[in-house]
Symmetry: D2
């Protein structure tokens, strides 16, 4: 049986990545693609790397007949996303890749995104899309909120450690290194090749990055009490990849054990042998997460380092993994592609 | 039915690329991997991006029991390859990725590679592996010689034009731009990141590059008379990709027509609309070739530009495509992965 | 004696490069910097790499008092440049970095730039800024037109060969590889890191690139009869550098001799020993040009390969070299910086 | 007056960087260059970007007549360096760029470098080369030990804060991002372009990196009691640059004040306005250090971020700055080159 899929906002990188993954998916068929400003164009004109595929022409959302569609991936910007999803027929399953439905608390949403949520009822309904920790809820969900790519990386490193109570909850520092595609295809000076290549720097340091809202929500929920982390993202001259170096207090062996145990049955999460360093290069283009644990020379201190591809496991791959669950299919369908190296 | 596959020389980039592609192949199973200097190691230790796969441990060639193997990919260095293949059991189908069996004429082999061929009988038996032009011979072959990656790119641009007699055979200039993975994983100063990144230059200009032997052989064969091209390769600061800009004399419309017609039924070769420029970025990680045709302002002059991924269509993807034919399977099996962009 | 310098359009890459070079110039002082949209900002805010310098705040052009200024570098976009320069006081010496005064013939200007020239009298007055070939005229000029960066690279390779009559004028092919900073700091999708890095392609192939106007003008002038070349530029994933691979008909030794003789007294032009390949990496950040000559295996064919840094010798370094001459100073002042490698 | 300079180990990146800087130095002349394995070659053959310079041919150390030499830069590998320097005439001033004389305590040296020091008397004599903190000692020194490039970056961020007693000495985390040229020109698989480009990872995490020896020594000395930091270096796909993100406990305003005051008269150290992020791109190719301070949302926590060019301020630029002092010259001579951007 084939499920019919629509992708809204298909002219961005996450939209293109969804098409790439679904191209070899055994039970999904893309029947509609939207992109308001590029309506009328073929996907091959917007993304020539997809020109070999037979795909629907890009249209405006209002031109789509959703009657036959089973599931919608919504890859629109935040704020736009909540309005569009609120207007979709209720029979549709929806995976939203924006930030709009990640935060449960409308007050938190307004704090981080600067204006009130326009669809608070939907916000309540949405399930947080970190598959390995919300698998059962996602299976039954109508609306799943894709996580932030940075937020996902940090959570894969830390979340089982909170649940296993092996770290000090008040001493968590996440130093994160992100590649540029996470910033999307928008025209900003700092994203130009000439500005970015051969240089790197922090951005949104000190607690202003919006993914902190997710960290606060999810870590506090897992801990059963408020948890606030330090988080400094950096922009690295590469196109894909996030590396989170997390500084923790705890016993390194206990930390490694907790992670190994938490993920022992997870297809996509690989905990490396103690002391090994993961690299973004080893997960590029794939849905895999590599996690390393290193004991510091200072007693009681330990680093957990997690690497994933922001466009795949951090965004579109995660979305597809969730869609597979929502449609009752094989969770890994379309997602077993090996990383592309070198 | 599953075919049992061995890969010899699995610790290089083409070996790793074969494993990546076969990982999602529906009817192939890797049963042996060799790497002399890394024998005893796991593939995941040599290539951590493959750590999620269950693969045989690397062994020395002489440790492999070939009785159950159906097909061998030989990704060894040239000169070594001919010796190893000469010693393999005759029941094996073999796809060789080295330069050893590309040239039909032992004199030409010695001229370009500097010493006599050690297995001239095998050389006669080998079929040249440019799939789209030798499909029938490959289907029945026991030994297929993978083409040079530069040689493949140039031939995709030019070969149908020789066959259609729409260009001047004495005025062919191939200016080629190659990414660094084509040089392999060997430790050479000019392959260091610090030496290569942010700079580019020609190499082996003037007629000394060994892939000229293939151009001479194949173009002369296609033309039915000697053809010699000018060929200047350049090393570009990127990891995957070859772009061949070919300067020709002929009518641009006739050239475009000849290419479009030659490839109209080919799954992997895409001829762009007249005047469009292909990019290596749009074929990266895939088995596709993009070909563009541009008329010059000078009457009677035309450029054909071809782009492919040297590790996939230029090497391991081509090898798998040929193996599919040799084993009587679907030619495109395992090869429909979309390019990874960005 | 110190000369007072104004830079108009200082917020682009060529403006910043002028500031970098003048920073260690012994006899120049920057007294005004303009940037219309960024007026009021410090140069350090626009280009933080210059924050250690004491520089005038950016202003609008009309705010500049030109009475005390000796020489103006005009780094504005073409079309704007001609209007601004037409309005400057006549006592000023002017080096224009735009395309506005490169073409002598108003008909040619309109053909390549799409509209009539707005200052045809100035156009007559301007001297073409390829220093090594117009040194005497530049010394006495009031207005010098900086060359196109691609046009400069091609001319360094070819011009002495026309003058020495050692090549076939009807068989000149320039395959050029350009880094991205030549496209400026403007916000275009194809200049994004995610779009450009790890890929490369031709652009404006077939005779549509505007620098062809300069090639036509200058080569025809040097030859004393019309000369038209084939020219295909490519965009390479690097920030600085142009490499021109020029395919010619002629005797390689005669070609090498003609180049070596033409440049034997030139400080900035280095002709490599026969057969060596220049690299953009070896001239990066400097005013040097490296030129190599390689004989092809086909008799009578030869390649000349020239490398320079588009922002330095191709633009701002050339401009400073010309300004030095116009002000009666040492031609090489401020320009002897060694390339930055790696 | 001109000082005569010898550079030992001139075929590595720090040797080439010294030549680049000295090329425009007003009072230094290079009279000898050594490189054992490349003895007999010209510097232009080893580093073609220096081919425009008139330089002595590379020789073996024993071929150098040191009688006329005033100062030696020793850019040899550690262990080799101590033996060579021990054998040099005592009239020579020496700046060593290796690790051999950085650690005062022979026990610490053996601990971090794995074998006993071969020249313990010289070790006592050496002055630690962090110019801004040892300026007076360096002026009178005969032997100065260049600091580690990572060690320099961390110290610029932290050292004034220890001296001003505004941070918690037991809570210092240095997350460092280093470009590849710091690893030198040696042939290692992980330094290949294909391995490094587009990926990044930690290395030597957990307290095994040798620059920790310098941190321990210098921070403890500054504090007057033992101080041990956490330090995790990462390898970033870029050629030049180090960015240290330092996590501290203290008041952000007090931290910013202490840094601003410490460096207010320093030519090369720029403390950015509170909240701004430095970038390695803004110091590339220069001797400048940019330092930013950001308050975290968690009260009492603050980040200090420092950026420098590892080959210039982190190594050869620092060495030249020290040599200027040792020779009684202008400290900044040859070092005021603006960064190269983009």
């Amino acid at each position: 049986m084939t499920h019919k899929i629509a992708i809204l906002g298909a002219s961005g990188y996450t939209g293109a990545e969804l098409v790439r993954l679904i191209a070899t998916h055994p039970t999904m068929e893309i029947t509609a693609l939207s992109a308001d400003r590029k309506a009328g164009m073929t996907m091959g004109a917007v993304f020539p790397h997809l020109r070999h595929l037979t795909l629907p022409t890009l249209v405006r959302i209002e031109e789509i007949d959703f009657a036959d569609v089973d599931l919608v991936f919504c890859a629109l910007p935040h704020a736009t996303s909540q309005e569009v999803i609120a207007g979709l027929p209720r029979h549709l399953k929806v995976v939203d890749l924006s930030a709009d439905f990640r935060l449960r608390d409308p007050v938190e949403y307004e704090k981080w995104y600067g204006k009130p949520h326009a669809a608070p009822e939907l916000q309540k309904e949405a399930v947080y899309g970190l598959t390995e920790f919300y698998r059962d809820e996602i299976r039954g969900a109508r609306l799943v909120a894709g996580t932030g790519c940075n937020a996902a990386t940090g959570q894969y490193a830390i979340r089982p450690l909170i649940e296993a109570a092996v770290i000090d909850l008040d001493e968590i520092v996440i130093d994160l290194k992100a590649a540029v595609s996470g910033a999307g295809r928008s025209l900003k000076e700092n994203l130009l090749h000439a500005e970015l290549s051969e240089g790197y720097q922090a951005y949104a340091a000190g607690g202003t990055h919006r993914h902190l809202g997710e960290f606060d929500q999810e870590f506090s929920k897992a801990a059963g009490r408020p948890v606030q982390v330090q988080f400094t993202p950096h922009l690295i001259p590469a196109n894909r990849g996030i590396l989170a170096t997390v500084y923790l207090r705890g016993d390194a062996a206990a930390v490694h054990d907790a992670l190994a145990k938490a993920y022992e049955n997870e297809t996509f999460i690989k905990v490396l042998p103690m002391g090994e360093h993961p690299s973004t290069k080893h997960v590029r283009g794939s849905n895999f997460v590599h996690i390393g644990v290193v004991a510091d020379r200072l007693p009681g201190r330990v680093m957990v380092i997690a690497a994933l591809d922001n466009l795949t496991k951090g965004s579109s791959g995660q979305a597809l993994q969730n869609a597979n669950l929502m449609l009752g299919g094989e969770e890994t369908a379309g997602l077993m592609l090996a990383p592309v190296f070198p």
